[in-house]
């Protein structure tokens, strides 16, 4: 147990800071402090170039094994990177789904050919991935997926028909991993396959969904005879559920560390506003502000405590439940600190960002497994309570 930064971590922090100062400038200046996709005025094309710049500086794949081109850094240094990145004004990251969800799953379940084909593009920031899990009839009950996949005996390709929904950033992605039913009479967790499929093809139609934030990170994705190569199933056909679950544990676990680094910046903006507009004199708001600051420290401590088991589904569910509820509370606090000024939408960047925080945080306790699903997972898999 060691809560202090090691000399290696301190040196690493200085390295991150120096690199950011030297590179987050010039063309990239406008990205400083920018949110992610869906934030007002986010320039996705520039953000992709930024990801490639990051890759050139070897700041992608920090936790990946060296055999796959990563740096195999311990979790402490990864946390240092994310913190320092945000502190230096680094913009919201674009390659999250590929780098922290698909890549570890490819390493665990992919063939060497798949790894050699797809990992370099993820690492280089040239290939972006979307996640094809939820469907209109399969949300929390993911095992109810109905999207169909069949091998075409003529071409040897997989042919996919069906529909996905809540597909984040599909409109900016090149590829999608699709959970589909490959055994026609199968039900539930059996007979599924996880396919790697190019998004930009005639068999795929995207339709953006307008969210309560006013933006559109999510899409509906329609497959109508969409195709991918016969070899591009991740894991064995019929065994897709286990692979999909491995990826979900990544999604709820260590992959959110980068996201959490932004929480500090969001808390800071609430603190600054409270000092400026007099909310800091309200005794009840003072209590809630202190609770938010202390709770953020707990999220960090929790990540440091369970770091040894990044894909442990129990630890992941606890962490996901905790951080999403923390941020949702912060959104509510932000609105109460804004007070009556929250009633009107304005061009003021601070007010805009707090409105975004408040609205976008309502999704945090829904996506990647709702609060209720996380509680089920914890009860049954961490506490061993009967189904």
């Amino acid at each position: 147990m060691n809560v202090q930064e090691t000399p290696a971590e301190q040196q690493f922090r200085a390295e991150v800071r120096a690199w950011m100062a030297a590179h987050l400038c010039g063309d990239f200046e406008s990205l400083r402090g920018a949110g992610g996709l869906g934030a007002p005025g986010y320039d996705a094309a520039l953000a992709k170039r930024w990801e490639q710049q990051m890759a050139a500086g070897r700041w992608t794949g920090l936790g990946w094994p060296q055999a796959h081109g990563g740096r195999d850094l311990p979790l402490g240094q990864q946390i240092v990177f994310h913190e320092e990145y945000v502190r230096c004004g680094g913009p919201g990251r674009l390659g999250h789904i590929g780098e922290t969800l698909l890549a570890p799953t490819l390493m665990a379940h992919g063939t060497p050919e798949q790894q050699q084909r797809f990992l370099p593009g993820i690492l280089a920031g040239t290939t972006y991935w979307a996640q094809g899990y939820s469907e209109p009839g399969a949300g929390s009950d993911l095992a109810a997926v109905r999207t169909r996949a069949r091998l075409d005996p003529v071409s040897g390709e997989w042919i996919v028909d069906g529909q996905k929904v809540w597909t984040s950033w599909a409109h900016e992605s090149d590829w999608i991993f699709v959970l589909a039913r490959c055994e026609p009479d199968s039900t539930r967790h059996k007979g599924l396959v996880l396919l790697l499929m190019p998004l930009r093809q005639s068999g795929v139609t995207l339709r953006p969904i307008k969210q309560i934030t006013g933006g559109s990170e999510f899409n509906e994705v329609f497959f109508d005879g969409a195709r991918t190569e016969g070899s591009l199933h991740l894991g064995a056909p019929g065994q897709g559920w286990a692979v999909a679950m491995y990826l979900l544990a990544c999604e709820r676990g260590a992959s959110t560390l980068g996201q959490q680094a932004h929480f500090r910046a969001e808390l800071d903006s609430v603190l600054a506003l409270a000092r400026a507009n007099g909310a800091a004199r309200d005794p009840l708001l003072r209590q809630r502000i202190a609770q938010a600051a202390l709770g953020l420290q707990t999220l960090r401590d929790h990540a440091l405590r369970v770091s040894g088991a990044p894909t442990d589904v129990r630890a992941a569910s606890i962490a996901k439940y905790a951080w999403s509820n923390w941020r949702r509370n912060l959104g509510e606090l932000a609105m109460d600190v804004l007070g009556s000024a929250a009633e009107s939408v304005s061009a003021d960047p601070l007010r805009q960002s707090l409105h975004q925080l408040w609205l976008s945080s309502r999704a945090d306790t829904i996506y990647a497994g709702t609060n209720e699903i996380q509680l089920n997972v914890m009860a049954e898999r961490a506490l061993g309570m009967p189904r």
Binding site: M1, D301, N376, L383
Partner: protein, 383 residues
């Protein structure tokens, strides 16, 4: 940076669990707390023999030379078992203050007698703010002192060999006195405790004559040590609260697994599962906060940083203990309302602990002041 237990720390936990499961069962706790004076002296002897009373104290003072992390690990298990020993008052509170004071032979000897369990000391630390504890007057009398006043609800006072009592002079200076428990002119009135596993007494001094050597510390030295010691003690108290929360979850899981209604175990109902899972979340968050705060305290940080982490541990652990003990009663149904079932023992402890060393609202206000009012000094230590 990491907050996982190392092998030695895991060994401390495992051996503490094995020992207390055998030597401090809830049957024994009930027997000690309902009939005797609330002090399991046999347990104290064994605990002292294992070195627990000096786990966090320097080897020079007869301790094991480990840190607050290791003390917290023991506190967690003592809380989980509701062990009827004055560990919090003597080993956590009194020793934390004595070791934080500028050292001398007298305090060193006192620490030694705490570390080997030979003496039990009770410190009248009702609040982390020493000014709020100065309810008695000290008047110089020749070379010595005369104490006059009272100290309400001093933990383990009636079990202690000696008391550590703060007082103020006519000029407002704070002083700390060592007073033998059997001193004439000192009266102890035991309180009938809401939590019978914890004892406390109102202490009164009427023209109590003390030699000059009874004054252990004074002025800014004492005020600073008091503040730091209260933060260290708050983290160790939080560890105990976390143990209470763990016990409540354990009890509830065992009960709901065997209790049948509608033809099946009630643990299979989602309404019950979700409550248990929420208990798990607050408990695990509290554990992370306590380990993180204790590990931070062991790096000897500034008082502002120490206070932030103590507030964090107190907030998370108080919430965990209150939530889990209340849910334990609810999920035991009617049985949870009976004296015979154990959840109420933990509800009592959770409530009592939530008010010791100031309520969470006080800690949060200290943090708010530093984040919002005072040069935003604490903003630097936010993650």
């Amino acid at each position: 940076m990491d907050l996982a237990l190392n092998d030695e720390q895991q060994l401390i936990v495992d051996s503490a669990v094995a020992f207390l499961d055998k030597s401090s069962t809830l049957t024994q706790v009930r027997s000690t707390s309902e009939t005797g004076d609330g002090f399991d002296r046999a347990l104290w002897q064994e605990v002292a023999a294992m070195g627990w009373c000096g786990v966090h104290l320097p080897e020079a003072a007869g301790g094991l030379g480990l840190g607050l992390v290791e003390l917290a690990l023991l506190q967690e298990q003592l809380g989980r078992h509701l062990a009827c020993i004055p560990f919090l008052d003597s080993v956590v509170l009194a020793a934390s203050l004595l070791r934080t004071l500028p050292g001398n032979e007298q305090t060193q000897a006192l620490l030694g007698s705490i570390a080997n369990g030979e003496r039990v000391l009770a410190l009248a630390m009702g609040h982390p703010d020493v000014d709020q504890c100065l309810t008695a007057r000290a008047n110089a009398n020749g070379a010595g002192w005369v104490l006059q006043g009272h100290w309400p609800g001093v933990g383990s006072a009636q079990l202690a060999d000696a008391l550590l009592l703060p007082a103020r002079t006519a000029l407002g200076e704070c002083l700390l006195f060592l007073v033998p428990a059997d001193a004439p002119s000192l009266s102890l009135e035991p309180l009938q405790a809401l939590d019978a596993t914890r004892r406390a007494a109102d202490v009164r001094a009427t023209d109590l004559q003390l030699p000059a050597t009874a004054c252990l510390a004074r002025g800014p030295d004492l005020a600073q040590a008091w503040q730091r010691a209260s933060c260290l003690a708050a983290i160790a108290l939080a560890a105990e609260q976390m143990g209470v929360a763990q016990a409540c979850l354990d009890l509830t899981l065992a009960y709901t697994a065997q209790r049948q209604q509608f033809g099946k175990a009630i643990a299979s109902f989602q309404a019950v599962k979700h409550r248990c899972a929420q208990m798990l979340v607050v408990l695990e968050q509290a554990r992370s906060a306590v380990y993180g705060a204790a590990a931070m305290a062991d790096t000897d940080p500034t008082t502002a940083v120490l206070l932030f982490h103590a507030a964090q541990a107190r907030m998370e652990a108080t919430q965990a203990a209150l939530f889990c003990s209340r849910e334990a009663i609810q999920l035991h149904g009617g049985m949870g309302f009976t004296w015979e079932f154990d959840p109420h023992l933990f509800l009592r402890r959770a409530q009592l602990s939530s008010q010791r060393l100031a309520p969470v609202s006080w800690w949060c206000e200290q943090v708010a002041a530093q984040l919002l009012d005072e040069n935003h000094a604490l903003a630097e230590c936010l993650p």
